[in-house]
Symmetry: C2
Subunit: 445 residues, 2 copies
């Protein structure tokens, strides 16, 4: 009934299952470790924000091939009965280390490391990449918007343009983690408890035929929750009609929340509208702007001293338009006792079970990260990957969305402003520990 | 259990519901017509392919606010009890005109026109935009790939990088409509009957530790369905191991289907590998290439005479990376007896209920489209918008996916090659009929 339904193990590339059949025939059941990470930064990105873990853990905990899944696989004619019987009883029994949602991370750092019997670890690849990659991308772009907005409110308006339904839900959640104050997405309000926001579209004004009639009617229905959209015909004329209706609302003991600008030169118009509102004694009425905003345009508006109190951020955020995918991969780094790495040109991986260590300066800012072996320790360095699942069971309840949001806020405060520049020209230092580096050399040899 | 679940009417921007409450209070129940169209071409697009109608009709036919939807809306404190009671009994009772899935269309042409009581027509906006926009975008990019591939097979490999789960399903369906031959997405195979495809990843080779062992094991499990991935360590060495195993398979009465290249200089490597296979008497073994392909790289490979029989197309297709969103909108064009248009700068709309007419040349190619009034007729012009829903009921069963695929093929054949150039530099002529133009002038005045 909601978009948070069970996906099931057929949400996968076929090769995960054909490989599994191959492993099964050769009895390759030893535990393998796979590492999930983003190989490279998209242009204009120099950090990422972890998101999507909750979906992963829920799906792993309930991973089952149900009767109709098996029936479909059988019908393909590709698989032997013995293998299908094996799948029928399969559950995920592995261990998961993960960056908590809301954690700032960098290219090549493991977001997840999964150790499980080879087949179990393999068949979840497609699902994990899909689930983590998109949410981390959106949370990262949202963080850039939040930084640009410099304290002004941001609202997710992207639902109509996201790449499908599930994306719309994930965008609402990921933007909220990164500090947005709300979303227009009602279902996200219901499912995740995110504050919802929105008032009227141009069609509303058109249905009434004039700004004044539309605003008056709206104020009747929502005397304490009204934001008027003022650009259907002409923004400044719309603003003066909004002033009239707002003054009447005031007389009646109510208050207009705000006006919304959706087209034109926002810097100029917002200052003119602010002036009109202030002159009329309506200093409490906020100005909300929407229409084509992203982190760069928000930055321009803030630096251009636009009189905008809140931004509705839509399309370019909801699809991460400047970087619509992450170069996210899931690579085998150990099979049984044998650490492994891939050597394809430009696609090398770091073999071995790993940990990410974060070193902080005395002032609390992050100084450097170190990717090391899982069992290493470093003085005054925080290990970032946490054990979240053992033998297929989650080790603790997942934090609430509010707690994740708070964790992001704290985490983001530790990232120095030099890494938050929109041009993303400075890269945060991530080193490989001497022991991990040495291991790689033995794997090459 | 599947991703084709009921979404429900809360999958919407809040303002659709607040507007509805406003309309309700003023008893604005007259029928309205809304037009859904793409305002502008993304750069490097000059045509679109209609897709997503089936999802829309299914959702409209079952649109209901269930008990828990109403409870959530009540809990927001925004809505009066009388309005919530109204929503509780609401069903979609409108008429829908739509371009059949698989139809080629152009900017500003209505994809859907919906006439329904104002509230019903309004609250479905967000859902319709989300559902049609993404699928049309992917079908359009897929058509570009199919044109570039010039008869070679294309397989959707994008599932791991699509923007969420639902996107992964929609990409599989939309690419198949536009002529792809299969998908790696197993769930799309089950849900839509699309042929599924895939064999092994690098991790498979790594688990065995050598190309030869991995290929031999795979051939044991899939003696008649094997494609070997040959670039885990070194492509040419991998190819010579594949030859050894393929010759053994031949001796045993089986046949290797193909080898897959996933990195390096594909033009050069594919020719070298083709030569090695041919020399060994393995002319029947196909070469499949994957890794970063999109319509431009496919075109380069085809023009560069790469010896590639099939392309696996992933990330850049699955997120439509060069154009990750369409400028798709849903605008009121009539309320009651009054035709309406929006005049915001750069966002003008065409008022009135409309039809799209396609004029063909004697040789069967499309010559020109005409956007006219719904009740106009033109000699030898095909009206493209079909009545698909009347009073909330679908007028006929939706065509099968195979029929939609065939409709696309026929449709695409009618589009002259000058419009299929990847640079998208020539725009197909779309005119406004004299009567429709005249109507717009009366609406301005």
């Amino acid at each position: 009934m909601t978009v948070n339904h069970r996906l099931g193990p057929l949400f996968t590339d076929l090769y995960e299952l054909t490989m599994a059949a191959g492993y099964f025939d050769r009895r390759l059941f030893d535990p393998a470790t796979f590492s999930l990470f983003i190989r490279n930064y998209p242009s204009q990105r120099n950090y990422f924000v972890a998101a999507g873990l909750q979906d992963c853990l829920q799906e792993l905990a309930s991973l089952r091939f149900v009767e109709e899944d098996i029936a479909f696989l059988n019908q393909t004619g590709l698989f032997r009965a013995e293998f299908l019987s094996y799948l029928k009883q399969l559950q995920f029994s592995g261990d998961v280390y993960a960056l908590p949602e809301g954690t700032i991370f960098f290219a090549n750092e493991p977001i997840l490391e999964i150790t499980a019997p080879l087949i179990e670890a393999q068949i979840i690849e497609t699902f994990l990449l899909n689930t983590i990659g998109f949410q981390a991308l959106i949370a990262s772009k949202s963080a850039r918007c939040v930084h640009s907005a410099s304290g002004r409110q941001l609202i997710d308006f992207s639902l109509r343009r996201t790449q499908g339904h599930d994306a719309g839900m994930k965008v609402a959640r990921s933007t909220y983690i990164a500090g947005f104050t709300g979303t227009s997405n009602v279902l996200a309000g219901k499912e995740y408890g995110i504050p919802i926001s929105g008032t009227m579209a141009h069609s509303y004004v058109q249905a009434f035929g004039s700004d004044f009639d539309a605003f008056t009617a709206y104020a009747d229905t929502f005397p304490n929750n009204a934001v008027f959209l003022i650009d259907t015909f002409d923004t400044l004329k719309g603003a003066s009609e909004a002033v009239k209706v707002a003054l009447q609302m005031k007389k009646d003991g109510h208050s207009l929340l705000g006006v919304r600008l959706d087209s034109g030169d926002m810097n100029r118009l917002s200052r003119q509208v602010r002036h009109m509102l202030d002159e009329a004694g309506l200093k409490e009425v906020k100005i909300i702007a929407s229409g084509g905003f992203d982190e760069v345009k928000i930055d321009e508006a803030v630096k251009g001293e636009a009189k905008i109190d809140a931004f509705g951020v839509g399309t370019s955020l909801g699809v991460s338009a400047d970087a619509p995918f992450a170069d996210i991969v899931y690579k085998m780094v150990r099979y049984g006792q044998r650490n492994v790495r891939k050597l394809s040109p430009g696609k090398e991986t770091l073999g071995g079970d790993k940990q990410v260590f974060r070193l902080c300066s005395a002032n609390g800012f992050y100084r450097q990260d170190m990717i090391g072996l899982r069992d290493e320790t470093f003085n005054a360095a925080l290990p970032l990957l946490e054990s979240v699942m053992e033998s297929g069971r989650t080790v603790r309840p997942h934090p609430s969305l509010e707690d994740i949001r708070l964790a992001f806020k704290t985490n983001f405060a530790g990232l120095s402003d030099i890494y938050k520049d929109l041009a993303a020209s400075t890269f945060y230092p991530v080193e490989i520990s001497p022991r991990l580096r040495k291991l790689q050399q033995t794997l090459v040899a």
